[in-house]
């Protein structure tokens, strides 16, 4: 995995990364992925994957709005990094 490849991963994940971090990660990722390669040797036969130990059942609820307490709403709004009245303010999502 080269520096450009790792840089691309950080772009995909939307995480800023410095040049020092990139240089460091190059060696580390190589070692980690080499260790992970031993999984290829596992005697799997035709075993299926286990995505979770929990039963695979879908959960649904009634499609109705549940009123939120004023205090909870105020708490949520107070956590917005930027707000206008009771709206969350963010950068334009349509502009490139």
């Amino acid at each position: 995995m080269d520096k450009e490849g790792i840089k691309r991963l950080f772009e995909l994940a939307c995480v800023g990364v410095t040049n020092e971090e990139l240089a460091r990660f190059q060696n580390e990722f190589k070692a980690i992925l080499e260790y992970a390669a031993k999984l290829k040797e596992a005697p799997l036969g035709d075993l299926p994957p286990t995505l979770s130990m929990a039963p695979r059942t879908n959960v649904s609820r009634e499609d109705r709005s549940v009123p939120v307490q004023d205090e909870s709403l105020e708490l949520l709004i107070s956590q917005f990094p930027e707000s206008k009245e009771k709206y969350l303010k963010t950068k334009n999502v349509f502009k490139k």
Binding site: L9, A13, C14, V15, G16, E28, K40, L44, L47, P81
Partner: protein, 472 residues
């Protein structure tokens, strides 16, 4: 029967020999004396806990019955949400963030009359094995402050080991309760996956995470587990379990040979095998037989765990984007806001794991790494199922090394990952497990890991109490 600190405190509260406020005051004064050195607590909720304690004292005065956990100061890992209180996941990206709802376990504990002492330090977003990855400084091991308390729940383990908190909540994804319990010489219990609700626990690896308990004895850890376990409609991975345990005349303990190979500290092995002798020689109306077993695919467990963990946690951390909550660093456009916020807000280990997780899930590599790991997971689960056909419990060392020095393993991530080698397989198979302190080497604690059958949590705790009595 080993002394249960929590049961003792409960008796004293009910008999009014001690009040909840007095109990809280003693925790507060120990915290004042020790926390600046140990850094177990990131925040202590002094005023709120005093209100909670007074409410319990009032109930006792009125002659009302109180639960086993009522009025007893409880430390909470800083990844469990309490409405209106700060929760940071030990990260800069959530600095100052206040939870807008309480975790289901917290709701249960509130109803039970718990007194919440404060939030404890851990490795940022539960990524680490030593509590050195916290954005708020490392926690020190109370047995030797030049050493790590383990991780990720190092703060909770250290809080209990130092006496600052009678018991504590932690979370375990690959050993994050058991390993710090071993390093700090306390009991740490991770329930079966699906036994305790994860609603309100900041998600790390959703198919492994479980909230669990720390205590000074097995019964203390059990009392806390009993207060938090149960099916929750807010967490569809929880299951209602009606566990009935039977008293046996003989318990068969499986000792997997793969856990006693190269890489295990010889002194730890000596201590562990010494504890087996004590358990075997203990006089009681039950006996024990130790049998060597094989978990033949254990050598794949660590790689399997890490591939799944990188993938799931990189997905889970996508929500921290500077938009709705937490830190926000501005940029020219939305992408820059994400990049700048996440670049500045996440520590190095978090970035490392997000990047590898992104790789593992990407087109062209998904099958070779992620899907392959999930298939190896099936293989390892089957190894445990086969073993449990003939044994009641599996016993292994919790850690391959003694608590290491601060800074010793932080520069090479793979070396730190190898510390988890004995604990991760348990999370892959969703089994219950705990670490029991069984002795010391040069003053440093050694933990024995006991692994139970899936959903055999109380059965495991029962066996652990017997072994604890034998070793005492």
């Amino acid at each position: 029967m080993v002394h249960s600190y929590i049961r003792d405190l409960h008796k004293k509260l009910v008999s009014k020999e001690l009040s909840a406020i007095e109990l809280l005051d003693s925790s507060h004064s120990l915290i004042e004396k020790q926390n600046s050195t140990i850094n177990a607590f990131l925040e202590v909720w002094k005023t709120e806990s005093q209100k909670e304690a007074r409410l319990v004292d009032d109930r006792i005065k009125r002659g009302e019955e109180i639960s086993m956990v009522a009025g007893i100061p409880l430390a909470v890992k800083d990844n469990i949400l309490i409405e209106g209180r700060q929760v940071t996941a030990a990260s800069k990206i959530l600095e100052g963030y206040k939870a807008s709802y309480s975790a289901s376990v917290i709701q249960k504990l509130k109803t039970a009359g718990s007194v919440f002492l404060g939030r404890t330090n851990f490795d940022e977003f539960a990524m680490g094995g030593s509590t050195e990855n916290s954005a708020y400084g490392a926690t020190k091991n109370p047995h030797d402050v030049s050493r790590v308390p383990g991780g990720t729940s190092g703060g909770s383990a250290a809080a209990v080991a130092s006496g600052m908190a009678p018991f504590a909540l932690g979370s375990d994804t690959g050993g994050s309760i058991r390993q710090p319990a071993a390093f700090c010489g306390v009991v740490g219990f991770k329930p079966s996956y699906g036994r305790v609700s994860r609603s309100g626990l900041i998600a790390m690896t959703s198919s492994f995470d479980q909230i669990g308990s720390f205590g000074q004895s097995v019964e203390d850890a059990e009392i806390l587990f009993r207060a938090i376990e149960g099916e929750d409609p807010l967490d569809s991975t929880t299951i209602a379990i009606n566990e009935v345990i039977s008293q046996k005349k003989e318990y068969i303990v499986g000792v997997p040979k793969e856990y006693f190979q190269e890489g295990l500290d010889k002194k730890i092995e000596e201590t562990i095998r010494g504890s087996f002798k004590k358990i075997e020689g203990y006089s009681a109306n039950w006996s024990v037989r130790f049998e060597e077993i094989s978990l033949p695919n254990m050598s794949y467990a660590l790689a399997c765990y890490y591939m799944i963990m990188f993938a799931e946690s990189s997905s889970n951390l996508a929500r921290f984007d500077g938009v709705r909550y937490g830190a926000r660093i501005e940029g020219d456009n939305l992408f820059d806001v994400y990049k700048n916020t996440r670049g500045a807000g996440f520590g190095t280990e978090v970035k490392r794991r997000i990047a590898i997780g992104t790789f593992v899930l990407s087109h062209g590599y998904y099958d070779a790494y992620y899907l392959q790991a999930q298939r190896v997971r099936t293989l390892i689960s089957q190894d445990f199922q086969k073993a449990f056909e003939s044994v009641d419990v599996i016993a292994t060392p919790t850690t391959p090394t003694l608590p290491f020095k601060l800074g010793e393993k932080i520069s090479d991530p793979l070396t730190l990952y190898l510390e988890d080698i004995y604990t991760v397989s348990v999370n892959l198979a969703g089994l219950p497990a705990l670490s029991l302190p069984v002795g010391k080497v040069g003053g440093l604690p050694v933990g024995l890991q006991l692994i139970g059958k899936r959903f055999g949590d109380y059965a495991l705790l029962d066996i652990a109490k017997r072994f604890e009595a034998a070793i005492a």
